[in-house]
Subunit: 235 residues, 2 copies
């Protein structure tokens, strides 16, 4: 029997219509659909594609603990890859839902690392949060020979400052509790008025704000600051 | 009469199925479709969506001279925005085709800059060449707290070297005739075996190569090198 294929499907940043025609076709054809969810919580990825799923599709929930320590999460991916492998061994394809783009800071790489050696794995790229944030803010990310950096919010303050000083444009991702630090850096560099904050881009609860209107205590993980040294054509 | 809306539609990197459900819906509903094309040549963007277009849709070809000098291109965007504005003034929406993502190094920003002040402009993000290249190479772009840089190939050799030394991962875009220089830099930094070359990702003519197998005289503009300092799980 031929073993099944793992499809790592980029499903986009949140708006269900931002899935590609290709990912939608493969999603609906897959006998098994797997997706991450916080322990005991709802899966955001499952919510995005809920309207596209059929009754006959089996589902594998990858319950990922949200603690900071990486150990429990790694055990969860170990378990999930065994569960997925059992389906593949039965000849069934498994579609793995990946918010945004599978290989842009996505957790899919943990399953990919465990399965790609023994099984056929195919990746369908998706709309990333980067493009979604720029579209929502009506702010071009980068053009011509701009250098663009993607900087995770957890980086140390001095490193963020050094890097922001040295690029034309940047996306600061994974803000959450790091917002206050990032804002201090942007203020100090005189870049605050060339930066904008976007939260839950493309979703109904999307919020676009100048930095001074953001409450640092209410910043979710799925938020981003875009900044461009030359300024941007903000609405 | 209400004026029309400009829809900047990300149509993805090349595979027609990598358009989003949203962009496809808006594309098919638009009475007028505009797209760039080289002077006297075929439009790649038009080719990508050809199968989705209907007979009743008017088309505006934005003929962009391919010279290096920016002046003639700017005149072309001036003309195109006037042409688009005439449609908008008649109450007709205009869908502008944007390869990849509209705001990720896209020429759409030139139209956006000319039209956004006077007309309603909405952007639909698309799958960028970045995610497409990573998917094709089966190589995660970045994860966890990685710093990722997007570096245009035309940057000076010393600047490329300095920046590549200082990041976890990079995408070097717009390679074309700059491939030889980029390869020298990667060789010198000892990063050549952690880099891979991808040409025309997601198209039938897609090519994935280690750097030493690339003919520097045959590198198209639509090619990219991905590199990750820690190495990547290459197939």
């Amino acid at each position: 029997m031929t073993t099944g294929t793992v499809w790592g499907l980029g499903i986009g940043p949140g708006d269900p219509e931002l899935i590609t025609v290709k990912a939608l076709r493969l999603l609906q054809a897959a006998p098994v659909v797997a997706y991450p969810a916080p322990l005991g919580g709802d899966s955001f990825a499952r919510t995005i594609v809920g309207q596209w799923l059929g009754r006959g599709q089996a589902e594998i929930v990858i319950e990922v603990p949200m603690e900071i320590a990486p150990e429990p999460a790694q055990a969860a991916y170990d378990r999930a890859s065994l569960q997925i492998a059992r389906e593949l061994d039965q000849g069934r394809d498994v579609a793995v839902l990946c918010q945004g783009d599978p290989f842009f800071y996505g957790s899919f790489m943990y399953l990919f690392g465990r399965l790609a050696g023994q099984y056929r794995v195919e990746i369908v790229p998706g709309v990333s949060s980067l493009g979604a944030a720029a579209a929502a803010l009506q702010a071009p990310l980068a053009a011509r020979n701009d250098v663009l950096a993607v900087l995770p919010g957890p980086l140390p303050e001095a490193e963020l400052a050094r890097r922001l000083e040295d690029v034309d444009a940047a996306a600061i991702i994974k803000l959450g509790r790091h917002f206050g630090k990032v804002r201090r850096v942007l203020d100090r560099l005189g870049l605050a008025d060339r930066a904008r904050y976007v939260e839950r881009a493309t979703l109904g609860q999307q919020r676009l704000l100048p930095l001074e209107l953001v409450d640092p205590g209410q910043v979710p993980y799925f938020s981003m600051i875009l900044v461009h040294r030359r300024g941007v054509a903000w609405r």
